[in-house]
């Protein structure tokens, strides 16, 4: 049984005090697994991941990581706890070179930085070849890879990924999601918010479905993938395809 590293209990959160978007949401994520959050537009998926990342104030409820309370912890403190957050868009610094982006992310690694940099460049060969180019010159998929590489710089045990496929082609989306899958083999837990339900369900281990800011259904991703009712009610009336 994989270890549960992240737990949210009864989280109510929103951008404006007194106007919660999430209502009493609970979920968990396991080490070495992809936990997927899906739901229709406005379900509160991104709000949930931002509340966990400390970007949205939590009104009530509790969020723990490795049994430590991280509710309301500032975003810039998350990396010291072993959590990395990959924002949906604008997740790289376009006026800096690829190497400068990585250096920035590696500053906390200090003496381990050269070794980690070498590791990252080996893991992302497309970035290694373009180190001196401005990040703005990268394609959409390469930008996501850079964002993931930056998230990996601090050797996190949990990565929060907010719609990494936003604006990507189906092929690039597949590459990014497959890379996310490969990260779990090193024991990293991934909490993934995704709109590409079909592709994401194929890769994920467990899935939580939100609607109108509340928990609806959760279960093993493969079970939900085959559930026609779930597909019709919560996934935009679309029946997901099974392989």
């Amino acid at each position: 049984m994989p270890e549960t590293v992240l737990e949210a209990h009864g989280v109510t959160a929103g951008y404006v005090p007194g106007l919660p978007i999430l209502h009493d949401v609970s979920m968990g994520a396991q080490a070495g697994q992809i936990t997927l959050i899906i739901g229709p537009n406005g379900a509160g998926k991104s709000t949930l991941i931002k509340a966990i990342a400390g970007l949205v104030p939590v009104g009530s409820g509790k969020i723990t990581f490795e049994s430590q309370d991280i509710t309301g912890l500032a975003t810039d403190q998350m990396s010291t706890r072993g959590i990395s957050y990959v924002p949906q868009t604008d997740n790289i610094f376009r006026s800096l070179t690829i190497r400068q982006n990585l250096d920035l992310a590696l500053r906390r690694a200090k003496s381990d930085a050269p070794a980690r940099l070498a590791q990252l460049l080996e893991q992302f060969p497309a970035l290694a070849a373009k180190q001196r180019d401005r990040a703005a010159t990268l394609s959409g998929g390469q930008r996501q890879f850079l964002a993931i590489a930056m998230a990996l710089a601090t050797a996190p045990r949990l990565i929060l990924m907010d719609e990494p496929s936003a604006g990507l082609s189906p092929k690039a989306t597949q590459d990014v999601l497959e890379h996310a899958r490969s990260l779990t083999e090193q024991g990293v837990a991934i909490l993934l918010v995704e709109q590409n339900v079909n592709q994401a369900l194929h890769l994920a281990d467990h899935c939580f479905i939100l609607a109108e800011g509340r928990n609806q259904i959760d279960g093993p991703a493969k079970d939900l993938l085959n559930d026609k009712v779930v597909g019709e009610i919560y996934l935009g009336g679309r029946r997901v395809q099974t392989t």
């Binding site: 990342a53 970007l55 500032a74 975003t75 810039d76 403190q77 998350m78 990396s79 010291t80 990395s84 957050y85 990959v86 924002p87 604008d90 997740n91 790289i92 610094f93 376009r94 006026s95 800096l96 070179t97 190497r99 400068q100 250096d103 920035l104 992310a105 500053r107 906390r108 050269p114 070794a115 940099l117 070498a118 460049l121 290694a128 180190q131 001196r132 401005r134 964002a147 930056m150 998230a151 710089a153 601090t154």
Partner: protein, 322 residues
């Protein structure tokens, strides 16, 4: 001939002092994205601070501490830095236009304070009784002015080199990262609040340095020297020169100050007598038009921001093998 030379030295000194101020603003806006609409307050804090600390005793207002000149100038810079720290703590949570409005308000409050608090800085009469350093030995003539210009030029070059190093350092990259996306920087464990405050205070200390030199050059400062016009002039210099580029900041300072003085001369010489009453207003319209025109047609400025690559692109393992 000596008259032309004297004027050129006067022009170059003023432009160099303003260039230092533009470099300070460039650190805040060009590199960090902090919209400081109250530039003149920090410039003024440096000017007032230097003259109050370094001046002789004057009845009716604070001053007469007789601090030796370099320390008085450092004191003026510290006054600007302290004010920036307080203002920064209160306002740096605001974004862009809100920050601009808040800091503009600070500048208006500063001017009003200087104009009305006679006990503090002489009110509308300004701070008097400041002796320019080494005046007894060098006199007030051309020799003094050219030596003072050389000192200002040396300080301008030192400020430029300091900022170039800063921009190329990891801290400089962090500034640009926060300028582009605070959320992404936070997600990497960076604290934008601390970094923004550091950049704001550092830029304001540089503005204070320019103000201190300005006060020294004229040996006098009054509320007329801290009007919002100066904020717009310094902004115009940065926008025209190129935000994010220190060379652009200096180039813009000389270009706009040149255009400002040339337009004043041309209007006084060629405009009809009855229209000359409005010369100042026409100059403001010209400056405003230049800002709008540049923002519309060349928002990156005449010398756009350059890519700063401070390290080689090889992997660490490749380096070891080299």
């Amino acid at each position: 001939m000596i008259g032309v030379m004297s004027y050129l030295v006067f022009f170059a000194t003023t432009a160099s002092i303003l260039a230092i101020a533009v470099l300070g603003l460039n650190l805040q806006w060009g590199n960090t994205g902090l919209f400081n609409g109250g530039v003149v307050a920090f410039f003024g804090a440096g000017a007032y601070g230097t003259l109050i600390l370094g001046g002789t005793s004057q009845e009716g207002h604070l001053g007469g501490f007789g601090v030796i000149y370099p320390l008085a100038l450092l004191g003026g810079m510290a006054a600007a830095g302290l004010m920036a720290w307080i203002v920064g703590l209160l306002t740096l949570r605001l974004r862009h236009d809100y920050l601009a409005i808040a800091t503009f308000g600070v500048a208006v409050a500063f001017e009003n304070l200087m104009r009305n608090a006679e006990w503090l800085a002489g009110g509308a009469k300004g701070v008097r009784g400041f002796e320019r350093p080494l005046r007894a030995a060098l006199g007030d003539g051309f020799l003094y002015n050219i030596l003072f210009f050389l000192v200002v030029l040396a300080i301008l070059i030192a400020t430029y080199l300091f900022l170039e190093r800063l921009v190329a350092s990891p801290f400089g990259r962090l500034l640009r990262a926060i300028r582009e996306d605070e959320e992404a920087a936070q997600s990497l464990g960076k604290s934008p609040a601390k970094v923004r405050l550091t950049a704001f205070v550092t830029g304001s200390v540089i503005l204070g340095l320019a103000g201190g030199l300005y006060g020294t050059f004229y040996a006098f400062v009054s509320p007329q020297d801290v009007l919002p016009t100066l904020t717009f002039q310094i902004w115009a210099m940065l926008i025209v020169g190129g935000a994010g580029n220190n060379r652009g900041a200096i180039f813009g300072a000389f270009l706009i100050w040149g255009a400002w003085t040339a337009s004043g001369w041309a209007l006084s010489r060629f405009a009809p007598i009855e229209a000359q009453l409005y010369t100042g207003s026409v100059q403001f319209v010209l400056i405003g038009s230049v800002i709008v025109g540049m923002l519309m047609w060349r928002p990156e400025g005449l010398l756009p921001e350059r890519l700063v690559v401070s390290q080689r692109g090889s992997t660490p393992s490749n380096k070891q093998g080299e």
